[in-house]
Symmetry: C2
Subunit: 138 residues, 2 copies
């Protein structure tokens, strides 16, 4: 069993400050469309980035266990949110991955990334669909 | 409909770099117990902080709509992860909130925080339990 602990502080007239021991603090705001500042991370962006980065680290771990050589990994993730009768709701997250590998290992590396969705603890904590699209550059 | 877009880049021998337009970039690593560096945010910490901060911003929004005066808000959030047959899985997130308000509004402010769980889009995107414990300091 592992635990992940974060904390935050807010006072009137200030931004929220997200902290976790030993790491740089983050100033957090609502997204600008809901009254926040455009130069701060929002909870919505943190969530999308958490999913995206978990898939990356899980992919690299799977590739390493299979002794595959990943020469680069980039991705873009888009979280979709809608207003519903129950309030704002995420409806899904699309993650588009571009991974670099030698031609001989390209298909295995692609499969390692696709397999990550099964093992990534962050995407598995979500009830909304996480859709993964993977391209390999050789 | 709103979208939240993040991106990341990784190269062999480097940390992952999480970005989103106009905000400071974050260096991301696995948690130290899985081989990462202890001074970097991990996807696990980003997820827990996303839930925690969404509950805070939603609470403040509800309080504002009800014209309640919140004098301070602090919280700690703990995400629990276990190894299962399917891999690492989050089993729940506990969020402990300490909010400050005048005695006359204490109960209403507490209720505003408790109501946040119903409206926060991040906690509502999760399939794991998010447990909220709220104390009011007057």
């Amino acid at each position: 069993m592992w635990t992940y602990t974060t904390s935050l502080k807010w006072q009137p007239g200030q931004d929220g400050r997200a902290e976790t021991a030993g790491r740089p603090a983050l100033e957090i705001n609502s997204p600008p469309e809901f009254g926040g500042k455009p130069d701060r991370w929002s909870p919505e962006l943190l969530l999308v980035s958490a999913v995206e980065n978990c898939l990356m680290l899980t992919s690299l771990d799977i590739a390493k266990r299979q002794k595959l050589n990943v020469a680069g990994y980039e991705s873009t993730a888009v979280g979709h949110m809608e207003k519903t009768a129950e309030g704002l709701r995420f409806t899904g997250i699309d993650v588009t991955v571009r991974v670099k590998a030698a031609a001989a290992e390209a298909e295995k590396v692609k499969q390692a990334v696709l397999t990550a969705e099964k093992y990534c603890p962050v995407s598995n904590a979500m009830k909304i669909p996480v859709r993964l699209n993977v391209g390999v550059e050789t």
